[in-house]
Subunit: 340 residues, 2 copies
DNA sequence: GTGAAAGCGCTAACAG
DNA sequence: CTGTTAGCGCTTTCAC
């Protein structure tokens, strides 16, 4: 391994100068800077981050905590895209991601311990409020953090404007003449689930429509299985008066609902109109293509990254703790004007 | 920050002893071990990995290189599941993952430099052969690595048995009476694309069926868009003699092909039978549910992890460089006996 | 079974 | 503008 000493010796200067050169101190003359860089290159020197971290207490590592338990982790189309965008952005600033888990080296360590062990400079939280207890220790520590899912007091969170999205979906359906609008919710212990559901109720009320509990079902989790079950249950609950439209709180389940309804003999959109939420990739290719609410995942990831970096670097931040990213109605073919 | 010195002082022993206790040296008496652990706990001590890494040259970090460019990264259902399984497994051994990228801190650094900077103990390669050049430096360095996608001389790779999978698909179709079997391939510069295509040709030959170039189309990349385009092209190329079945090299595209065919008036499976490859989550919920070849992603991730850890810890390995994970035919409803 | 001491590669005052 | 020096927190001989 070639070190700063090797470079110094070869370049005829001190290790300190090499260090300064690599850290872009302005106090280095052009000449020596150039010389140092050249010999570093020649010798194939790469700075050693462990040593640097030990000396500076900065690892350039950002912890990411997400919960595989709820099928809402790296494998989830929503979070994986946010994560990708987040990672790209922090990469531009020299940071890397490390996944924080509870189980570590066979013993039960808390998330906090894992963070401390890795010495992360900050943390991205992508877990639902359901896991409030397990991340409590990190929330209470003075590790900088930003959330893209749960909402916590005095912490920044970047999240879609669920109310806006719900209203966009519902207003569109209403505009098409629908008055019997059902809702398949995501788990209500998630922020998305709760907010979209509440917006649904708020919308009904704002239009003077009566809330009918039979028109609402909550999916157990974020899997396709749960979605199918929910769709079936909705049909069962409303067999005496089927809805003409259903607002489904996320695309994966909107999709499964469509196929489930179709299998039961309903035509989409003629018999039932559907609007989803997420605009995941496949939604443009379903039969029929799904009308849905787009979440700007690239923006969420990027904003969260910028925010976290500013926090870490102790820059001035003049944003509210809760940053809402606007959503957008994507009209495709799963909705039609209500039949007379 | 509480260090080993604090613990030592409080426990009435030397830092060296504390270190030994934490590293499970057997030369520590039960009594002092217990004492140390208790006071460590009391003081809230967590080992600092940067310091440990500096002293030992071991970071407990594993680099992961995957290529977002081909839409085949963290966002891809196949790789994200492998990664999840891999991550869980290495986590059990105390390792963590860090993503290796080319662009780092604004300057163009090669993958190798990123690895060196982070001092990774090993690398998981999940990039196609298309990127051979960019990972060449890693391959040539003496960093331990395992691949789950490309195949490189003298390197371990854990990958599905694509030939087996193709034969399972094709034999099933053949058994159902199909003789006009088309193939939609993934990009042929990927291992999966090439091997499945070659197996397709081998199968035809083995059954004395004539290979007809018109029955084959190669998708441009791994997106739904490319799949749709490929499906359309297949229809166009074969308008005078449509295939009765098509073997599609991956589920995402199999799915899009189904909907595309359906939109063009073909019934699945009555007019065209489809078998895919991957068994991604959604495949059980398409209309009709997709018959496909299952890849055991959990196993791939786990095996790759075990292999890499053994490599890192210089254990004996008696496995071939190329480890093929068996595939499995999952029969659902997208295939039927050929019409007379 | 335990401890003293040197050192891992780098940074950060402080001098010069 | 450059160099000296003293750590950062931990591990690892080698004595005891």
């Amino acid at each position: 391994m070639v070190t700063i000493y090797d470079v110094a010796k070869e370049a005829g200067c001190s290790p300190a100068t090499v260090s300064k050169a690599f850290n872009n101190y302005k106090s280095i003359s052009q000449k020596t800077y150039k010389k140092i860089m050249e010999t570093a290159d020649k010798l194939g020197y790469t700075p050693n981050n462990s040593a640097r971290a030990l000396a500076t207490k900065k690892t350039w590592l950002i912890g990411v905590v997400l919960s595989e338990e709820l099928h809402t982790g790296i494998t989830h189309p929503h979070f994986s895209e946010i994560l990708q965008s987040f990672n790209t952005r922090i990469g531009e600033y020299g940071y890397d991601i490390v996944f924080i888990s509870k189980r570590f080296g066979n013993k039960e360590e808390s998330y906090l311990e894992h963070c401390l062990y890795r010495g992360v400079d900050g943390v991205l939280l992508a877990v639902g409020a359901k896991f409030k207890d397990e991340i409590k220790s990190i929330l209470e520590s003075d590790i900088k953090c930003v959330s893209v899912e749960g909402i916590y007091p005095n912490k920044y969170t970047v999240i879609s404007d669920n109310r806006m999205g719900s209203f966009q979906a519902l207003e569109y359906l209403y505009f098409l003449g629908h008055r019997k609008i059902a809702h398949i919710a995501c788990p209500l212990n998630s922020v998305a689930g709760r907010e979209r559901y509440e917006a649904y109720r708020e919308f009904l009320e704002s239009r003077g429509m009566e809330f009918n509990p039979k028109y609402v079902v909550e999916a157990e989790d974020f899997t396709h299985e749960a979605g199918q079950k929910a769709a079936l249950q909705l049909l069962q609950q409303t067999f005496d008066d089927f809805p003409t439209a259903v607002y489904v709180a996320y695309d994966d389940v909107a999709y499964v609902s469509m196929t489930t309804f179709q299998e039961k003999g309903f035509r989409i959109p003629e018999d039932i109109s559907i609007v989803g939420f997420d605009n995941i990739k496949i939604s443009a290719f379903t039969t029929p293509p799904l009308t849905t609410i787009e979440q700007d995942r690239m923006e969420i990831g990027k904003r969260a990254a910028d925010l976290l970096i500013n926090l870490i670097e102790e820059k001035e931040i003049d944003e509210p703790y809760e940053i809402r990213i606007p959503t957008k109605l994507i009209m495709r073919n799963s909705c039609s004007r209500v039949a007379e």
